[in-house]
Amino acid sequence: MTLLELKNISVHYGRIQAIKEMSFTVEEGEIVSLIGANGAGKTTTMKTISGLLNPSGGSISFMGQDITKMKAHIRVVQGISQAPEGRGIFPAMTVLENLDMGTFGRKDRSGVSEDLDRVFTLFPRLKEREKQFGGTMSGGEQQMLAIGRALMSRPKLLLLDEPSMGLAPQFIRQIFKIITEINSQGTTVLLVEQNANQALARAHRAFVLETGEITHSGTGKELLANPAIKEAYLGV
């Protein structure tokens, strides 16, 4: 089943067109990666899907419903949850409070403790630090917290904007392993990355973004094997 569908989406910042008539779909149960260089429009795409930006043209539908005009905070209730770029955690709240903020839009408070357990199982480090203030944690821990917080709304679609940004290589591998695990538990994941190697290796399908347009698409493995992509993004 198609979970998310973008049709001819265009996004402008003032007069500058950041996204040019982009179309793609995300099927239920997939990990889809968007890779691209700086300024390719990756974060713009994410913000358009989560509702922080309004597209200037085209339409977005989620589970068959048109959500193009829907406000960001309502999309969360519908099942789209984002771990924003640069982590975006609340520094003056503790880990537990940050996670609790993730449950804001939920109607079923009864599933919360179950999800809290799930997050703590995925990220045992968060459990150890549950009373620590978000702002005092390391980059990797903040990233875990951002992902964990996004999971607390029990999303159908998890948007991850550069989860590897600013992290040590060893930790990047671990984050990606956890992303695969989250996916195998039934959450569809749309991933934006500069770290093309990991993003392609973990993805079912992937798209390459260049200056606001999709230039390549295929399964993760196909793109990994594509010589042009190898040269441009994998530095081989």
Binding site: L96, M137, S138
Partner: protein, 405 residues
């Protein structure tokens, strides 16, 4: 996960011990912020949290009684006499404290820099003036009624200003609010019904005559006015405290810390920002009505930008996000020029310097925002968790009767 060793946890052995002690006496935990920001008053919040509930109440009652008795005792070193009447100074301080508490909702909780707060103060003053002064042609109502009316009208103005402008962020919002502050002042000058510089005289006051047939709430009699303002201040504090500890308060904090993240958590940020604005405005309007009632005269001369900036200074000085700090800041900003009349002419220089020093040495204000509100949230959260745990346990025991979600 060896590479994710963050800074060492903040819970020192001593703090942990304190936490255990607290739990032992059954008060909610929540002084970790005090542990985090130790300063001149740093230990104070922590010590306060360590006190058992009964002792906290006892201390609070003593403080409140002392606050009520302040103009009667007229303590020698603190008194503003002979230059200024001390009870009147107390009233001014109480009004400024109320203003600071209101502005603290906007700046401290929701993180919206409002440089035109004086506009709400002005609207409140004019509501009181136009509904009670014989100079006005409007319908007249008893003075005490003007306080809730002023609050309602300014809340309306807060929404009116908030809806178009709260789509802006940061500096842009500050600029627009600065403009709004000026607009209200200029409107008061050019709208004939608001009587510009001539203004309104003989505003109403609460009823009551003393033994000599003089009104209890005479313009020159500061003490009853102070008691009235202080009572309202305490009520507002209790309400603000409840808001702070509620979901609303936490959403404000989330918006202050990262608006986009709050939005992607499902918080309707715009709605909450308008609410913060309206609540702040309402408190500002009340303080305006109280101030002008005591002065007995309102014209367009008192509502300048500088006062607006002083309001912000009061909040920042006291500690944005901390209501006790806001009271302290507001009272201090009002008190210093009245007490030290020799330096009153230099008050802007002194406040400027004080703010610079505060920013350098104590960037969170005299009393830093306590995270206690969040700790209360956690307290509530744990309760919810315990309840849902119990529920799911019950559901497991009787799978047929599982509650629908």
């Amino acid at each position: 996960m060896s590479m994710v060793d963050g800074p060492t946890p903040l819970h020192t052995a001593k703090a942990d011990q304190a936490a255990e002690d607290r739990e032992a006496v059954g008060t909610p935990p929540g002084s970790s912020a005090a542990v985090r920001r130790k300063g001149w008053f740093g230990g104070l919040g922590e010590k306060w949290q360590e006190l058992p509930r009964q002792k906290q109440w006892a201390v609070l009652i003593i403080v409140v009684v002392l606050a009520y008795l302040l103009p009667v005792i007229n303590p020698p070193l603190i008194s503003t006499e002979p230059g200024n009447d001390f009870p009147l100074a107390c009233q001014t301080m109480a009004v400024w404290a109320l203003v600071a508490v209101g502005l603290n909702v906007v700046i401290g909780y929701a993180g919206l820099l409002d440089l035109g707060y004086i506009a709400f103060f002005a609207v409140g003053s004019y509501v009181a003036a136009m509904l009670t002064s014989p100079d006005s042609t409007f319908l007249k109502i008893p003075y005490l009624w003007t306080i809730p009316v002023a609050m309602a009208v300014t809340m309306f103005f807060g929404v009116l200003l908030g809806v178009p402008t709260l789509r802006l962020r940061g500096d842009y919002l500050a600029i627009v609010t600065l403009g709004f502050g000026e607009i209200v002042r200029i409107l008061a000058t050019i709208i004939p019904a608001m009587k510009g510089q001539v203004g309104f005289q003989n505003l109403g006051h609460p009823p009551g005559l003393d033994a000599h047939g003089v009104p209890i709430f005479a313009n020159s009699n500061g003490t009853p006015w102070y008691w009235l303002t202080l009572t309202i201040l305490i009520i507002v504090l209790l309400l603000a405290g409840n808001l702070e500890r509620s979901r609303v308060g936490r959403n404000w904090i989330a918006i202050r810390e990262d608006e986009d993240a709050a939005e992607t958590m499902g918080v309707p940020t715009f709605k909450y920002k308008v609410w913060a604005f309206a609540i702040g405005a309402g408190i500002g309007g009340m303080s305006g009505a109280l101030m002008s009632g005591q002065v007995g005269f309102v014209n367009n001369q008192k509502f300048d930008v500088v006062t607006s900036v002083l309001f912000v200074a009061a909040v920042v000085l006291g500690g944005a996000g901390n209501k006790v700090g806001a009271i302290l800041g507001g009272a201090l900003v009002a008190y210093i020029p009245l007490r030290f009349t020799a330096i009153a002419d230099y008050k802007y220089l002194i406040f400027g310097l004080a703010l610079c020093l505060i920013m350098i040495f104590r960037s969170h204000g005299l009393l830093a925002a306590r995270q206690q509100l969040l700790a209360y949230g956690r307290h509530a959260y744990n309760e919810v968790k315990a309840r849902t745990d119990a529920k799911s346990a019950k559901a497991k025991a009787a799978p047929g009767k599982e509650a629908s979600l």
